[in-house]
């Protein structure tokens, strides 16, 4: 706010003795900049963009302005603004306090939040012709799910309302035009060709080549930036409209003067101080290793959340070894009778089915704990989650109601979930409702794990890889055995070691002797 006040006091434009402001004839005339003005916005807005004012020279009230009394340039300016404006001059000055020039200000809809492009206008609190005070509510709009009161930044008179209730207004579009008295206008230095005799500076007209002698066109933010670099902004050639000096111009100038390193083109819009960080000059021939920052999103972000929660649960881990010889034979048998070339038989469906059968006997491991009431919910369905490592991160979809599925159906469903996961197309239903989780980390590698629970489940099982290890058979001879290490992680508030051990024995029995599966199958 202080910057505004400073500018206001410096650049107050006072009418010359003749009552007419015009550019000096020496410079070639150019069309004046189009009007753009300040914002009406919610009461605590971010700093508004520069307001460009449509300046109407004050005219003596006794005579209406005629072509002959004004310089050609002024008339040309008026014409460029489109249509008759003469009547506005007298009306504008009538609306302003005596002795002050009046401004017609276009008031756009300000940003109401990041990424919000438009709002619906709900209702007006003022009408054309009304006098309004600074901060007085002008209208109400709807944005997202919020109704927002838009207040006035100026004291003045409502001249023209551009939208009605029910209309959609884009951010930046003009909501209304207001006539505002000069005393509160803040305009940047010498933005208009009008002479400011009291300052004793030459008035300027931006020429088409963009050469500016004094009084450069630019925003306060850009001036501040130039000041930061210790650059005289008047030295910079502006590439913006009408020779306006833009942020890029200042930075390019600074780079060319060796004041800063070249920066990327996407710079943040901020009026804050610019840091002049001197990066270490890389030594020739030495590789420059850079840190890289990655924002965690999607599955990765979900993992941060779920694992942080899991860390609060007291885990214990139980390790068992399962002999998979029979399983290997079974898989080969399945593969031989498999007429469907698209389907691949693996160990997992069998392990899933046998897991479900063991859970029927030990339902506590297929449960959920409610801390507040010390209740354990024994889940009816065996919705067995399978941890999958996708390119997007870890995701655990589950196979629903395994008790009612055959091994073939499990195989198909597993393939479908794999397909969905790899294309990041898993549905919410696929991911929700799991009751226990299997992590076949051994498919990638590893012997043991200490898996963390997938809350609100109470058990998780990590499968190591199948190894060929020397083991003793019933006749005490050493033979090569296909062995898999299984680590069970469990919530020790609900489940104890003895229960997990018994459960594991049950499951191991079914895997090592598949005929038992047949015996108990429903």
């Amino acid at each position: 706010m202080a910057a505004w006040a400073r500018l206001a006091s410096r650049s107050r434009l006072r009418p010359s003795a003749s009552g007419v402001c015009g550019p000096p004839r020496a410079s070639p005339p150019a069309p004046p900049p189009p009007p753009r003005a300040g914002c009406a916005g919610p009461a605590a807005p971010p700093p508004p963009p520069l307001r460009r004012l449509l300046r109407l020279p004050q005219v003596r009230s006794s005579s209406a302005p005629t072509t002959s009394s004004l310089g050609d340039e002024t008339v040309q300016r008026w014409r460029c603004l489109g249509g008759e404006r003469r009547w506005l001059a007298s009306e504008a000055s009538a609306a302003a306090p005596a002795g002050e020039a009046a401004e017609l200000v276009e008031v756009p809809l300000a940003q109401t939040g990041e990424g919000i492009a438009e709002c619906e206008l709900l209702r007006w609190f003022v009408a054309e012709g009304d006098q309004v005070d600074e901060f007085q509510p002008l209208c109400e709009v709807q944005s997202d799910k919020a109704t927002i009161e838009i207040t006035s930044r100026f004291k003045g008179k409502v001249h023209q309302i551009h939208f009605g209730p029910g209309d959609i207004v884009k951010v930046g579009e003009t909501l209304l035009k207001m006539i505002v008295g000069d005393s509160q206008i803040v305009s940047p230095d010498n933005i208009f060709p009008s002479a400011d005799k009291s300052l004793g500076e030459e008035s300027v007209v931006p020429s088409s080549e963009g050469n500016i002698h004094s009084g450069t066109l630019s925003t306060p933010a850009v001036r501040h930036l130039a000041k930061q670099y210790g650059i005289n902004i008047n030295e910079i050639v502006g590439t913006g409209k009408d020779g306006r000096v833009l942020k890029e111009d200042v930075l390019n100038y600074a780079v060319s003067k060796g004041l800063c390193k070249e920066q990327s083109s996407s710079l943040e819009e901020s009026a804050g101080p610019v840091e002049l960080l001197k990066e270490a000059e890389p030594l020739p021939g030495v590789p420059f290793y850079e840190d890289k920052k990655i924002v965690l999103r999607g599955y990765q972000r979900a993992m941060v959340k779920s694992m942080s929660l899991a860390a609060k649960v007291p885990h214990f881990h139980f390790l068992e070894e399962i002999n998979c010889d029979s399983l290997v034979q079974l898989k080969t048998a399945f593969q031989n009778v498999n007429k469907d070339n698209t389907m691949k038989h693996t160990f997992l469906p069998f392990l899933i089915k046998s897991l479900s059968m063991a859970l029927s006997k030990y339902p506590m491991l297929n449960s959920s704990f409610i801390e507040q009431t010390n209740e354990v919910v024994l889940k009816g369905s065996h919705n067995i989650g399978i941890a999958m490592a996708t390119t997007h991160g870890l995701v655990v979809p589950n196979i629903k109601k395994v008790q009612s599925l055959s091994i073939l159906e499990i195989t198909k469903e597993l393939a479908r979930l794999h397909e969905m996961a790899s294309h990041n197309k898993l549905s919410a239903a696929d991911i929700e409702g799991g009751t226990i989780t299997l992590s076949n980390i051994g498919a990638i590698g590893g012997k043991f794990g200490s898996p963390l629970l997938n809350l609100p489940e109470v058990a998780i099982i990590a499968l190591g890889r199948i190894q060929k290890l020397p083991r003793f058979d019933d006749d005490e001879n050493v033979y090569p055995s296909s062995t898999i290490n299984v680590t069970v992680g469990a919530d020790h508030r609900v489940v104890d070691g003895a229960m997990v051990a018994r459960f594991c024995n049950e499951w191991k029995g079914l895997v090592e002797k598949p005929e038992l599966l047949l015996l108990h199958m429903r």
Binding site: T112, Q142, S143, T147, S427, E432
Partner: protein, 273 residues
């Protein structure tokens, strides 16, 4: 404008927030109260209304009735329809709904800009503290959800110096009541064209009791405010001049809409439901 409350843990003064708790209050009465507290007082408020009767349809400020509500069953069963003062979508509320409304002066929360998304983000964090231990809580677009299922809908109203953020929480809901509502044209992305039963969930399936929920909200607010329970009677005053904008649509209003339905589809603007 905020009144300093008692000093918090770190010695910084927490602003005062008055707490009003009701149970079963009609939603129209609650909304009128909220408007009055917003527009006619300078204090920070939290209003909790546990359940409401009778079951009522509540639309946002600019919702088009014919697009959001099945008018014929509504007329037949005489379901009240209210247009509230805040933005947002349409809900049907009943005994299973728990309402929590937060009304704040714009300076009450340090560093919080009075814009919709900023307020939504702040409230999302507040409610995260309440819900995180009961389920996989998310702020999804403008909704509160467990995993991908919505259980809380939000709306806001922002005035010159103050703002309201209010939520209707689905402790429980009656599936048959949902039949009075159409599936809105504009819906949050994560809804993925699911119907009400697949899109929503009931809080009671995640939490042990309503009081655990409401106590949790009060505790979470207590971290940032000095929460002071206030009697409803002291709040209700003889402010007869004030006319709230929340309105109950009359039977006549609804009947007119039904009869003019044929022509109302012309030039219809997409309004966010």
């Amino acid at each position: 404008m905020s009144v300093t409350g008692s000093a918090g843990a770190r010695g910084a003064a927490r602003p005062l927030m008055r707490l009003v708790t009701m149970s079963g209050a009609p939603i129209l009465r609650q909304l009128h109260l909220e408007e009055r507290l917003l527009r006619r007082t300078a204090d920070n408020w939290c209003v909790i209304n546990d359940g409401t009767a009778p079951p009522t349809i509540v639309m946002g400020v600019s919702g088009r009735v014919s697009e959001l509500v099945e008018i014929e069953p509504v007329l037949r069963d005489r379901v009240p329809v209210v247009r509230r003062y805040s933005g947002g979508g349409t809900v049907i509320v009943d005994q299973g709904t728990v309402f929590v409304t937060i009304i704040c002066d714009k300076s009450a929360v340090a560093g919080l800009q009075p814009f919709p998304r900023d307020i939504m983000s702040w409230s999302g964090q507040l409610y995260g503290k309440v819900f995180d231990r009961f389920g996989e809580f998310h702020l999804r677009e403008n909704d509160y959800a467990f995993s991908h299922r919505k259980f809380g809908g939000n709306a806001q109203s922002i005035t010159k110096n103050r703002w309201v953020h209010h939520t209707s929480f689905l402790w429980d809901y009656d599936v048959e009541n949902m039949d009075y509502l159409k599936i809105p044209k504009r819906a949050p992305e994560y809804r993925l064209a699911r119907n009400h039963t697949e899109f929503l969930c009931r809080m009671k399936e995640y939490m042990p009791s309503r009081s655990v929920f409401t106590d949790g909200v009060i505790t979470a607010l207590g971290e940032q405010f000095s929460v002071q329970p206030t009697d409803l009677e002291t709040v209700l005053s003889n402010d007869e001049e004030f006319v709230p904008s929340t309105k109950l649509l009359s039977q006549q209003d609804l009947e007119e809409i039904v009869s003019s339905k044929g022509s109302s589809s012309l030039g219809v603007q997409e309004v966010e439901a």
